[in-house]
């Protein structure tokens, strides 16, 4: 079974802090994704990566950056957290970019 883990289930940060969200997958998948989930908006793609050190912007990249130094690890960085970044963050991986994705449990981030 594919396992995708995220570093924290719940996180509370202050406005202006730099925030790191870590994601690790154990199935040697090429493709990894970061989404945010908000009620009524579904899932929105922030960034994805199709190879080590490769990344592409999704639909809402503003205020975020990513890092993929190793195949199994994909990090989401909030450079200066703001209250409108309070959300559920979901990481996913897939063998083929447009086939089924496997999700981590999510990190619920609150920025105060």
């Amino acid at each position: 079974d594919v396992k995708v883990t995220q570093s924290s289930r719940y996180l509370v940060k202050r406005t202006g802090e730099k925030v790191f969200l870590e994601c690790v997958q154990d199935m040697d998948h090429e493709n990894m994704f970061w989404y945010r989930q908000d009620p009524g908006l579904g899932l929105r793609l922030i960034y994805f990566s199709y190879d080590v050190k490769m990344k592409e912007k999704g639909d809402i990249p503003e205020g975020y950056s990513v890092s993929r130094e190793k195949k199994e690890r994909f990090s989401l960085i909030l450079e200066s957290a703001s209250t409108n970044q309070t959300s559920m963050y979901l990481c996913a991986s897939s063998l083929v970019p447009y086939y089924e994705q496997y999700f981590g449990p999510g990190t619920r981030l609150t920025v105060t």
Binding site: R9, Y35, L43, R44, F48, L90, A92, Y98, E100
Partner: protein
């Protein structure tokens, strides 16, 4: 532009009754369609997909979905609902961009409530 719609925010069904969760899509070219389920405080779990072939696709936990090209729909169904099926369900379609890499478009989700 590619899009996917889940017209119902919530669906209520009695335990033991059949359930349907609706999804319609708009893509140019052949669609790749997916259903995911999200239980409370969990990530999404893949249920089933349609890529090509038989219009009726069977997936996990007794769910199935019917691809209807003329109606551009991919409704999720189950013959007999269980209380444990209560969750948030997402439909997704592969985006076919004019440039760049393929990605998904997710619907806004439908909350299924199965009543005992």
């Amino acid at each position: 532009a590619q899009s996917v719609a889940q017209p119902e925010d919530q669906v209520n069904v009695a335990e033991g009754n059949p359930l349907t969760v609706k999804c319609t899509y708009s893509v140019s070219g052949n669609p790749y369609l997916f259903w995911y389920v999200q239980y409370p405080n969990r990530g999404l779990q893949f249920l089933l997909k349609y890529i090509t072939g038989d219009n009726l696709v069977k997936g996990s936990y007794g769910f199935e979905a019917e691809f209807n090209k003329s109606q551009t729909s991919f409704h999720l169904k189950k013959p007999s609902a269980l209380v444990s099926d209560s969750a948030l369900y997402f439909c997704a379609v592969r985006d076919i961009p004019t440039s760049g890499t393929y990605k998904y478009i997710f619907g806004t989700g439908t909350r299924l409530k199965v009543l005992a």
